[in-house]
């Protein structure tokens, strides 16, 4: 049986009287403090002790301080461990023992500690700006909120919105905990200076713990992004993906131009960005042509953690008209697919009101297919019938 017990401190990280009282109360229950990791405090099961606990603000380096331990031991105190790089924790069975015997000196120590934590606050602010800025999409909130209202799954699964919202909430809780900590520290210093006594403020520690818990997935997500594990492309050959060649025939010339040619499947995903695949192919086109003038195929696939989300995403896609696509027709389930939507597209001609230039757009069709928690969107421009390839699309989804 493990002798280590873990608790979350109910008191803020700078709440000296609160933490001292709590650690002494834990010792009275037989839990001797040993160390901290984030908001977690570790205790060793020990005999029940009646002690007073003193937190000595760390000056400068956060290494162990053998000299200080020797001074404290000489005065009858026992070193228990370090509290979050902020305090050395000492305990004494003598409830009348005083670690600080000069109020002016204690005031100096608290003032210095307060300044250190103010600098820490600036670093925390910087972390706020960096992480929130990284996930900030630069769009006005009105548009995002409108999009969120009508297309919630698409908006929330774009890889940025959820991390941003979680980071904002996490930092709100952590910042609040930090600010309250600074405020309580300032009040404690004033009280000590005037010779009075103050009590701890229970609950602030939970704010920090909740904030870190909310922020943890964002941090994991960010590490995945920066470590490169979020993007895992693989070769088109052997992927089982439906290609333009499959639809147009073996002799159909495929564009080799940069941005229009993919001989790989773009694939990735992180903890907060659902696994997704993307692939497109264009027919070869001349200097005077645009990519819209030739047959092309674009495939997007997303795998959601829940089938319900995939269902909702299929429904959201089926409400979006793209380049003269007709209404989506729900077809009976087949080939192991749970949902099949197809929207045929008529070819159309667009005449510019400004230049009078006439452009002919190709016909085609759009498939929205769902298999379990995976949903596919395939947009084809060309003369062939996309529905002839439904079986291939279904096999492709099954193979993912």
């Amino acid at each position: 049986m493990s002798k280590t017990t873990i608790r979350i401190s109910p008191f803020g990280g700078f709440d000296i009287p609160g933490l001292e009282g709590w650690l002494a109360a834990m010792a009275a229950k037989g839990f001797r403090f040993t160390m901290t990791t984030g908001p977690l405090c570790f205790f060793d099961r020990d005999e029940i002790q009646t002690v007073q606990v003193h937190l000595e603000p760390i000056q400068g380096s956060t290494d162990e301080n053998p000299e200080l331990n020797a001074i404290y031991e000489e005065a009858g105190w026992q070193y228990w461990g370090m509290f979050r790089g902020s305090f050395y924790v000492y305990a004494s069975p003598d409830l009348e023992a005083r670690a600080h015997t000069d109020p002016d000196t204690l005031d100096y120590a608290l003032k210095k500690f307060f300044r250190q934590k103010l600098v820490g606050g600036v670093l925390l602010l910087l972390a706020n700006v960096l992480l929130l800025g990284f996930y900030w999409q630069g769009s006005p909130w009105e548009i995002d909120l409108l999009w969120l209202r009508y297309y919630p799954v698409e908006t929330l699964s774009n890889g940025k919105t959820i991390p941003f919202l979680l980071a904002a909430l996490g930092f709100l809780l952590i910042d609040l905990s930090y600010l309250l900590g600074l405020f309580h520290l300032m009040r404690y210093r004033r009280t000590v200076h005037s010779g009075g006594k103050t009590r701890g403020h229970r609950g602030v520690g939970w704010l920090l713990a909740a904030g870190l818990l909310v922020l943890l997935p964002v941090l994991i997500n960010t590490v995945q992004l920066f470590s490169g594990t979020s993007y895992r492309p693989y070769d088109l050959e052997g992927s089982g993906f439906v290609t333009l060649t499959d639809i147009e025939g073996e002799d159909f010339p495929i564009s080799q131009r940069q941005f229009y040619y993919m001989d790989y499947i773009s694939h990735g995903g992180t903890l907060l960005d659902p696994e997704h695949w993307y692939f497109h192919q264009y027919g070869a086109f001349g200097q005077n042509q645009s990519s819209n003038d030739v047959p092309h195929l674009e495939i997007s696939i997303v795998r959601y953690p829940l089938e319900l989300l995939a269902e909702m995403r299929a429904e959201e896609w089926s409400r979006q008209e793209i380049n003269n696509s007709g209404d989506y027709e729900a077809r009976p389930s087949d080939y192991g697919l749970d949902e099949i939507y197809y929207a045929p597209r008529e070819g159309w001609t667009h005449v510019s009101e400004i230049t009078g230039e006439k452009r002919v757009f190709l016909p085609g069709g759009i498939f929205i297919l769902r298999r379990g928690n995976t949903v596919l969107f395939a947009d084809y421009y060309g003369e062939q019938d996309l529905t002839d390839h439904l079986k291939h699309f279904a096999a492709m989804l099954e193979g993912l």
């Binding site: 003193h54 200080l68 001074i71 105190w77 005083r98 015997t101 000196t105 204690l106």
Partner: protein, 103 residues
Amino acid sequence: MGGKERGALTEPMFYVLMSFLRRDMCGIDITEFVEQKTHGRVRLGPGTLYTLLGKFLDGGLIEETEVDGRKRTYRITQKGREAYQEELERLRACVRDGEEELL
């Protein structure tokens, strides 16, 4: 820390600085010195001593001379002697003023 720009020293500050006048000292030596010198009148808590050593080091009043395991030894600097001397003068003036009033 003594002098106009430093402000008056508290008793623990004064005695800690005094402890370095004759020889280099480590933390535990200082506690014993103050205890003996003041016959227990001035008590030096470990937190107070730790803070004062840090404060005096930051202020350049003392400097570290040796690290031997858990023991660090310090000596007073010229600036520290001046601070001590200024405080001594201030205390002498206080005593002089007080005695004059008694006469």
